[in-house]
Each structure stands twice: as structure tokens, then as C-alpha cells.
């Protein structure tokens, strides 16, 4: 398994736009698509086992939706969901290394630079740290 297209997916509008592009890219390269949901609770808050089980459920539900959306767009693309217990940017970087990824596709957060500055923008982190190309898909205009 190599040359995957890695897609970061969190259910947001941006990530759904990214999903449509990622399917097209996967089709063009005839590469498998891995849809990644990453989460990691703040370690300052102490233990998390049951909390993580909840998050994993949310993530897997979200990815189930993503996989069926991708299948609906193009049934010929192989799609695999991947829940990673790391912060979103870390999970994509990790997955891209593991899968020898061709490209990472993520949604942009649109015209909200302050939100990105406070929360830490995932595309921004990826652009600096990824070893593979990063494709940022703009969120659809409201």
C-alpha cells in the first residue's frame, strides 16, 4: 500500500469540499484514498480512556459518512477510513508517512484568519511540516 491520497476529515464544510477534490485526485492517480479523523484530548486534563472511546465513536461515525459520500461520488475509488488518536495535524503527518502518501488534502477554514490563529490552523501546520505536497481546498462560499 503506497502512494495513498490522504484526506483530513472532520465533518466541516471545508473538509467536505476537500473530500470531493480528494476523490477526483485519487481517481486521476488511480490511488487509494485514506480518510483520516484525528483527535487527542488535552493531556493537562488528566485521564481519558472512556472519553476517547466516545471520541472514537464520533470519529468513526463521521468517517462512515465520509466513506459513503466518496463512494457515491465515484464507486471505483478505494476508500479507507482511519481514526488516529493524535491531534489533527499530527494525525495527517503520521498517516502520510505510514502510507507513503502522494498528497495530503485538507479543507481551508475560509475567511477566518483569527479563528485559525487562535485554534491553530491545520493547513498552516501541514504546509510547514509535511514532507509531501499539501492541497488546501477552499471552503465553499456561504
Amino acid at each position: 500500500m503506497a502512494g495513498d491520497i490522504i484526506l483530513g476529515y472532520d465533518g466541516s464544510d471545508g473538509s467536505r469540499a476537500a473530500l470531493r477534490v480528494a476523490v477526483t485526485v485519487a481517481k486521476a492517480f488511480d490511488a487509494p484514498l485514506t480518510v483520516v479523523f484525528g483527535y487527542e484530548p488535552n493531556p493537562m486534563g488528566g485521564e481519558t480512556a472512556d472519553y476517547k472511546r466516545q471520541l472514537e465513536k464520533i470519529g468513526s461515525d463521521m468517517l462512515t459518512t465520509a466513506v459513503s459520500e466518496a463512494k457515491a461520488l465515484d464507486p471505483s475509488v478505494a476508500v479507507e477510513p482511519l481514526v488516529v488518536p493524535l491531534r489533527p495535524a499530527e494525525s495527517l503527518l503520521q498517516a502520510s508517512l505510514e502510507r507513503d502518501a502522494r498528497v495530503i488534502v485538507v479543507g481551508g477554514s475560509g475567511e477566518r484568519p483569527i479563528v485559525g490563529a487562535i485554534l491553530g490552523s491545520v493547513p498552516h501546520k501541514l504546509l510547514h511540516r509535511s514532507t509531501v505536497p499539501v492541497l488546501v481546498v477552499p471552503a465553499p462560499e456561504e
Binding site: 493537562m44 488528566g46 472512556d50 498517516a95
Partner: protein, 534 residues
Amino acid sequence: MTTTTADSGELGARPTGEAPGGKGLKSGALGLLSSLVIGVASTAPAYSLAASLGFVTLVAFKFAPAVMLVAFVPMLFIAAAYFYLNRADPDCGTTFTWVTRAIGPRTGWLSGWGILVTDLVVMPSLASIAGYYTFTLFDAKSLAGSTFWVTFVGVVWIVVMTAICYIGIELSARTQVLLLGAELVILTIFAVVALTKVYTQHIAHSIRPEWVWLDPFKMSISTLSVGMLTAVFIYWGWDTAVTVNEESRDAKRTPGVAALLSTLVLLAIYLIVSIAAQAFHGPDFLTNNSSDILNALGHDVLGSPWDKLLIIAVLTSASASTQTTILPAGRSALSMAVHKALPPRFGSIQPKFLSPGFSTLLFGLISVVWYVALTILSPGIVLANSILALGFGISFYYGMTGFACVVYYRRLLFKSLKNFLFIGLAPLLGGLMLAAMFVISIFYYSNPINSAKSGQAWFKFIQFNVHVLGVHLFVKQGVSPILVIGVGLLVIGFPIMLLWRVGHADFFRRSREAAASLHASAPPLTPGVLPVTD
């Protein structure tokens, strides 16, 4: 390294008992430094000293350093319980889940209530320190003296911190290291400068440190107990150093080493600062300025503008401490809901930020209400009432943790000397010490003369006068606010539990468990997950 792969059909279906993060992609394994930083930052040394040094001195006078030292003993013993129970079950319910497993659901529920109440009781002290020290940072003395404006900033502080926890804003690991490092360096500089001045200059009321300050046997049992009940607070949160890293199972030694190092750091900083503070102007100064101790001392020791560094350290420390109060409070409530001990709403997770949204916001809201109410009921002594009452909640649920460890591992206690010492004797002694402090302090505070404001009492219609085992328990004119806050809030958990039990008997039907091995993970307390999101 294997990868978490799953078909859409079987995602989330994990073999029971497997700890999350124990498989799949590297799950944020924390290094030694991160564990150390989390443990010490959660304990928040600068804020803890600012909040409690004056009150420990109020109780123990010049033996405050001894009390600070001895208070660590039960906390160390209980940390062993945290370490071993966390191995079996790293749920965020911590004491709630462990006590439920080991002792039973009713006691477990009350322990969970104890965690939530204790988190609530500390909030006004955090908020009032944040409000007061913010104004002193900008030399706004008149505002710092105004109950209204201090409370106003305190409320803003709670709101902002709740939002930070709700949205999930985190400082980078490097920033945390820098902030904590700065905090420790500033406290050390403060202590060294104070001691140097004591030995080289003529400072008003200064006294040179004496060894006797560290001798706990010079106090009565009652003074020592009440002092320790106040002082356990400074070590509260330290247990995260032993538990937080447990999930990176390959790094077996890290939690132990991190705990040991953070212990040394904390003990050293608390001792040197409390000795230096007492030496500088004598214990009377500490008791007279108990509510703004580091500000008052910082000004005289470091002088302007260097004293501002100390104030900044208190504020960053209070910020870390507020977060390590709100985050676990939300997660404890989430855990109780997941295990059907609270309504499912408390377990709901905000889908965008993935935080326990409802619980976190509700905790923030109740904290604001409680803080404002307490300020109205006891203006000027909110900090005193909160800090002096806090030890009851901490002792209760930490003590329960100690007992839960002994009971949960009851079949393994005599398998080896190591078992006997670490999962038997230490947690048991820790629990008994905390229980003794708890009971002795009830007698002490039952006399309103020992209230934060001497003679202040609430519920004045309550009057009784009894002798129990030769000890005089009397309530002449109502109950000290410290008892109402510290014990009253714990006690009302009992009727609330009975109310919840009506129609929700599932949780209360479970039977007790005993560990079969010291190394095995326990299966989840409740199988399955809640299907709820906000």
C-alpha cells in the same frame, strides 16, 4: 508500528479491555519532560503558595513549613493508589470509576460527587486571586481593594477559561515548559533574595530560619491535622504526574521517574519559599496578609518593578490551575454520564471542538454563580473560606482513592512484599491519615471561633452540644462557613444520589470487582458508548 485500520463496518469495535492508544498509530506518548511539566503545572506552585501560605500559617503559625512538609506524606501514599488504579482503568472518572468498581456504586457515585464539588470549591479562590493579582500587576490599588471589581475580573476569568477548555485551545508543549520554568525560577529568586536580605540586612521583624520550623511534633494533633487539611491543597493535582503518561506503555519507567522528579521539585520549592517568606517579616506578617501574601511579600523582597514578575508567575500558575480544574471537572461529569451515573446530556461531546461541551459549560456557569454567591455571603473572605474548606473535599476523594486501591487489589495484597507496601499499606495509611484530618478538622471548625472571620456562622438556628468519645462537638450559634462549604456540599450529594437512583437503578445494580492481576487492564466499567453529541 501497526496502523489503526478498520472497515467502515467495524470501526470502533475494539476488543474490550484494550486501552485506547495502546494500539495503532503512536498515540501522543509523552516524554519525561512533558510528564514532569504536566504534573508540576497542574499542581501550580506559585498560585498554591499565593492562595494558601497565609492560611497554613494562620493555623500552624511558625510551624507552617513543617506542615507543608508533612502534608506531602498522605498525598505521596495516595499517589501510589492513583498509579496502580490508573493502570487497571484510565477512565477520566478516576476516583468515581475506581471506587465504583472496588467498593460499590453508591460510594462510587458519592466519590464522583466529591470530585465535582471539590473542583467547584476551588474556583472562587482561583477567580479571586486572578482578579486581585491582575489589578496589582497594573498598580491599580483601589480597584484591587474593590470587592466588586475583583469579582468582576474573577467572573471574566472563569468565563474565558471555560471558553478555552470548551474550544480546546492548548499551549504548545514548548510554551508550557517555558511558563513553568519561569514560574519556578521566579519563586526561587524570590526565596533566595529574601533569605539573603534576612542574613545581610536589617529587615523589620525578620527572623533567621530555625530547624524547629520543620518539626511537626511541636504541634498538637489538632493543629497539625487542621494545618495539613489546608496544606494538602498545595500538592493537589500532583497525581497527574504519575497517571498522565500511563498510556504510553512502552515507556514504563517514565511515570515513576517523572513523579519522583516532580516531587523533589515541589517539595524543594514549597519548603524554600515558605521558610523564606516566614523569615523575611516573621509569621505575623503572613497571617496579617494571608489573602495577598505573595504580592505583599514580593513588593518588600524584590522591590518594584521586579515584584511584578512574581505577580505574573502567580497569574500564569492560576491559569494553568484553572484549566486543570475545569478540564477534569467536565471529564468527570462526562465519565459519570457514560457510566449512567448522571443524565446522558452530561456525556455529550461538542462535535466541532470535541470537548465535553455541556458539562464544561455547565461547570463554568455553576462556578460563576457559586463565586458570586459566596462573595455576597462572605465579602472579603472568599479566598479564606474557599481555601480552608477545600481540604475537606480533597481529603474525602483522595482518601476514597486510597481505600479503593486496597479493596480493588485485595486478592493480590499478600503476593509479594512490594504489593503489600505499594498497593496495601501506603494507600491504606494515606486514606487513614486523610480521614483523621477530615474528622479532627470537623471538630475544630465546629466552633465558629475558628471561622475565617472569627465568630462568623451560617444557619444560626442549628444548635447542639455533644460529646463524642471524649471530644467536644458543639455548635452554639450556627455552623462555620468553612464547614458548610467543605462538608455541607459533600453531604448534599447523598440526597441527590438517592433522587437520581429513582428510575436509574441500572448503575446502582452493579457488583463489586476485584483485580485478578496487577498488570491487566480492567474491562470498561460500562460496555458500549453513548450515542450523543451536542
